[in-house]
């Protein structure tokens, strides 16, 4: 992306003006870099915790830590870059990005690489690219763009159009199949509709419709997806097979107790009983080693980030920015809720990472890009109002 061209505000003379106007203003430096300090602190804190837990979960493997460090650097760079793009420019490019995303999704289904029975990746030169990650941001952008440009609350016809905008990529991703991502994208679109003022009665109707369609969903599901649901309903049924993950995860969490077994001392994780402990189940490692006290602290930090994000959304100056920022933050929370819910056995196992803690790159970049947009929304506000 030609980001530099989109940044007329990122020039010294324009940025200098407010600085000169308010020399005594302490927040100006952050303002100038388009960073939101509370949000940045929260994200850095979570990244730090993530690296510490990963060091333990990965069996004190420094090379793993270095790789994750590099990914974090890339992700924070993406955040920083996106923070420089003003919501106005973002809004302008939104339809194009959405269309490109859809085209790429179709391309993936047509020529993508198959990995672990799912077709998610597309190869561009040396890079492996996962278009569904891009859609996590462009779908709420598109819906916010469409609704934000018109009067709120949206009319029924507009809701239908917006609904199609969400359903098309969702179905394309579900075909890959990647149920977790499809769910998240559907959520992000739905959140825009919710924030846009869709009537509560319609929400209730949709909820009922969704529950009623569950049997149909069951019929459409792949065997492994059905197995996950069955395992979720009764993990003891197959303790050495599919239920093993969730049983061992619950043992790890429960045996952590109030204060935990201590960093690097979690027996479930250190002795290999806990599968996927560096990636999707890293929260179980954290819970085992730091106990309920650690868990409360971690959830508090996550909530602080979420509430800061929601505050930013509420303070945004146009509907597009408000809807987009709110949707992105709520999607971030869905990540957290689904991951912790799945690891602790109240939700079925859907392969969603815990943002900023789980090892892995692609979703990390997406999450941080979303925070870049949030920062952009917050830090471009005053400049515009000047």
């Amino acid at each position: 992306m030609a980001i530099a061209k989109l940044q007329p505000l990122w020039t010294p003379h324009k940025a200098l003006a407010p600085t000169l106007n308010a020399m005594h203003d302490q927040r100006t430096l952050a303002q100038r870099l388009h960073m939101d300090i509370p949000l940045l602190l929260g994200l850095l804190l979570l990244s730090g915790i993530g690296l510490a837990v990963l060091y333990s979960a990965g069996g004190q493997d420094t090379s793993l830590l270095i790789r994750q460090g590099i990914r974090l650097a890339i992700a924070f760079t993406a955040m920083f870059v996106l923070a420089q793009v003003s919501p106005r420019h973002l809004s302008f490019w939104t339809p194009w990005l959405y269309v490109i995303g859809i085209v790429l999704l179709i391309a993936v289904l047509a020529f993508g690489d198959v990995a672990q029975g799912a077709q998610r990746w597309i190869r561009i030169g040396p890079l492996n690219f996962q278009p569904s990650e891009m859609l996590k941001i462009t779908v709420p952008m598109m819906v916010a763009y469409y609704l934000g440009a018109r009067t709120l609350p949206p009319t029924f016809m507009r809701l239908l159009v917006a609904g199609i905008m969400v359903v098309v990529p969702t179905l394309l991703i579900a075909r890959q199949p990647d149920l977790g991502t499809a769910l998240l994208i559907a959520c992000s679109g739905a959140f825009v509709l919710f924030l846009g003022g869709i009537s509560m009665r319609l929400i209730a109707a949709c909820t009922i419709l969704a529950s009623a369609s569950a049997p149909v969903m069951w019929y459409l599901m792949h065997d492994y997806q059905r197995q996950r649901v069955l395992t979720f309903l009764d993990p003891e049924q197959d303790p050495l097979g599919a239920g093993y993950h969730i049983i061992q995860s619950k043992i790890a969490i429960g045996s952590g107790g109030t204060y935990g077994k201590g960093w690097l001392n979690g027996t479930q994780s250190q002795l290999d009983f806990l599968p996927e402990r560096s990636t999707d189940f890293i929260f179980a490692v954290f819970s085992e080693e730091f106990g309920l006290s650690g868990v409360l602290t971690l959830i508090a930090i996550y909530l602080a980030v979420v509430f800061r994000g929601l505050y930013i959304a509420s303070q945004a100056q146009d509907s597009y920015a408000r809807l987009l920022a709110g949707s992105l933050v709520l999607t971030f929370f869905v990540y957290i809720f689904v991951n912790i819910g799945m690891v602790s056995g109240i939700l079925p196992v859907v392969g969603l990472p815990l943002p900023l803690l789980s090892y892995g790159g692609t979703s990390l970049v997406t999450v941080m890009a979303a925070f870049g947009i949030l920062m952009s929304v917050h830090t471009h506000r005053r400049l515009i109002s000047e």
Binding site: T151, V306, F307
Partner: protein, 636 residues
């Protein structure tokens, strides 16, 4: 204000979104609260439960099998030892394709079809996640070759183990016995806690009888394991207590001499020390090698052992029940004297047959023309049947039964080896009880010469001889001389003579008469075993016996003419020596050997010669003294 949406009510729209953001805040708080509640439930409410599960995951208890005690003969010759060997073992639960694994392992080392057959047999009987041996006694090259390729064979591993082995091979197998893999039955019989980690258990012989002594106590190791079950570190360890080493009363060289003396014959030799009841030799032939049984003998070899007409697995010394024949004559004679039925100088005339008063049927003597006038001494020396027909008839089966029972006939000797046979001392009650038939007078007569229903084991005969030699002290036969405490290495003498019964002699002279008669059997000019008396440097008291090969079903109607040639008589001989200070008492049995004097007696002589010349201290004062008193045996 920069805005293209002129018709929008910006303030109202901002209110809508703000309202929804606030609603979302509540939603987020609600869901976060749900997560916190769930975590509190797992980490506080159910903490104990999960903590226990976690500990169970982490800590495994591994049993350490004790080292089995060794078995020595009385001079410290190793009879059973533990040899370090390498075994290729397989945990079937960790193997995906067993056939492929066996095939590929077969390319690496020799695995015979017998190995595979035995392995598959054991698969059916094993416990879960227990490893099953496929190949035993790998050589170093095979171990090395496997180790290099080990990654190719998940579920297979080479284990260094102590394997029981019997360095003397087949010798004394019926006494020592052997160990074998524990089976389902063994598992149910033993205390499972004592046998954690143990794979083998005594199956027969001393190995079985002294199992509790030889086994030891298992140790326990609490180890931390990972999810794959690999031991990461030892948290706590209690060492196993090895089993006690056991020294037997038998002399390996004497045992070997007796086995050689029996040669290819099927038979038994039991020699005991009359003073202690300690078993000096315990032979049953043919013998077999117990070593293949340790690792599980392949079924073809086992079937051939079972099917052999020689019946090598049959313990003749312990379980062979034979009609004692003339062996009983000294005991019957003693009964006559002690029960005051006859006196030592009472004579009868032997015309070569005996007839019950008023009956036509003749009971023949082995000497067709008869012995002429005989007293008890001559009747024993020359083995006159008519005298004992007469005496038995006068004593009656009741008194005969009671008196001979004192010597242990028809009763188990109490040797600790499992499954001892009791023999049979018939009586009127016995016949009524077991067959519902009345006792016939003729049956009393043939009991007097050790035929008919009467049966005895070689062990019983040896013990009865010992009782006679000690003038009435019946001891329990014992096989263990000493046990070594495994921790202190201190030896405890285990052999305390145990008197089962003392027969109070009514008149010492009666016993002396019988014993002198038995001495004359060997040393007298007309003794049936006079040939073995020649050149003996010590005095032997003995008695020959020749037993017809007939089951107890035969009654007095037996006719020698009808005996199948294949069913030759059993040859028997009992003896003790020296006569005045008995150091050894023994019984020899040769199945279908023919006459006791020709076949059985020379074997006894060889055993006693070896015992007095090699085993006992030749400087033994009393022995030399006894030897000088020897009368010169007249040449026949």
């Amino acid at each position: 204000m920069r805005s293209i949406h002129t018709i929008k009510d910006i303030a109202a729209e901002a209110r809508i979104v703000k309202g929804r953001v606030i609603a979302a805040c509540f939603g987020v708080l609600l869901l976060a609260g749900l997560l916190v509640l769930r975590m509190a439930q797992l980490q506080v409410v159910e903490y104990e439960h999960f903590s226990t599960l976690s500990e169970d995951n982490r800590v495994n208890i591994v049993a350490l099998a004790p080292t089995r005690g060794l078995i020595y003969d009385r001079n410290g010759v190793e009879l059973a030892q533990n040899t370090p060997t390498f075994t290729l073992e397989i945990v079937p639960e960790n193997v995906e394709d067993m056939d492929a694994l066996l095939f590929e392992l077969g390319e690496l080392m020799e695995i015979t079809s017998e190995d595979i057959e035995r392995f598959r047999g054991m698969l059916r009987k094993k416990r879960r996640f227990q490893s099953v041996p496929l190949r035993h006694r790998l050589n170093e090259e095979e171990v090395a070759r496997f180790s290099v390729n080990r990654h190719r064979f998940p579920g297979a591993d080479v284990q260094a183990r102590l394997t029981r082995s019997y360095p003397l091979g087949a010798s004394a197998v019926h006494l020592i016995g052997y160990v074998g893999s524990m089976n389902e039955e063994d598992l149910q019989r033993v205390d499972a806690a004592e046998y954690r980690g143990t794979t083998h258990i005594g199956k027969t012989g001393v190995e079985q009888a002294y199992e509790s002594l030889l086994h030891g106590k298992p140790g326990i190791q609490r180890v931390e394991t990972n999810a794959q079950g690999r031991i990461l570190r030892v948290l706590e360890r209690t060492d196993p207590v090895p089993g006690s080493n056991v020294t037997l009363t038998v002399d390996a060289s004497l045992q070997a001499v007796a086995e050689r003396a029996l040669g290819l014959e099927n038979g038994a030799v039991v020699a005991v020390d009359p003073a202690t009841g300690g078993v000096l030799a315990f032979v049953s032939t043919p013998v077999y090698d117990p070593n293949p049984f340790v690792d599980g003998i392949d079924s073809r070899s086992y079937r051939s052992l079972l099917a052999s007409p020689e019946r090598p697995l049959f313990n003749r010394a312990l379980n062979g029940q034979y009609p004692p024949g003339s062996i009983v004559k000294p005991f019957v004679g003693l009964a006559g004297l002690e029960l005051e039925q006859v006196t030592a100088d009472h004579e009868i005339f032997c015309p070569g047959y005996f007839r019950l008063p008023g009956r036509e049927r003749r009971y023949r003597d082995w000497k067709k023309w008869g012995h002429g006038k005989v007293d008890v001494t001559r009747s024993i020396v020359e083995s006159c049947d008519v005298y004992f027909y007469t005496l038995a008839g006068e004593l009656g089966i009741g008194r005969l039964h009671d008196y001979l029972s004192l010597f242990g006939f028809g009763r188990r000797t109490g040797l600790i080896l499992h499954g001892e046979s009791a023999g049979l001392m018939p009586s009127e009650e016995w016949k009524q009880r077991s067959r519902g038939q009345a006792w016939f007078p003729g049956e009393t007569l043939i009991t007097g010469i050790g035929q008919g229903f009467m049966l005895a084991t070689p062990l019983q005969l040896a013990m009865a001889t010992a009782t006679l030699s000690t003038r009435g002290v019946r001891l329990r036969p014992q096989v263990v001389l000493r046990r070594d405490d495994p921790t202190t290495q201190q030896g405890t003498v285990d052999l305390v003579p145990e008197t089962l019964e003392t027969i109070a002699p009514r008149l010492e002279a009666n016993w002396q008469t019988i014993i002198n008669a038995m001495a004359d059997v060997v040393h007298g000019p007309k003794g049936t075993a006079r040939r073995i008396g020649i050149g003996a440097t010590y005095r032997i008291a003995g008695k020959t016996g020749t037993a017809q090969v007939f089951g107890v079903a035969q009654n007095e109607e037996y006719d020698e003419e009808k005996v199948d040639k294949k069913l030759r008589d059993h040859a028997l001989f009992i003896a003790f020596a020296p006569v005045d200070n008995p150091r050894i008492a023994l019984a020899v049995l040769v199945e279908n050997g023919g006459g006791g004097s020709k076949i059985a007696a020379p074997i006894a002589r060889k055993v006693m010669d070896h015992y007095f010349q090699q085993v006992l201290d030749t400087k033994d004062e009393q022995l030399i003294l006894t030897a000088t008193e020897l009368p010169v045996a007249a040449n026949p």
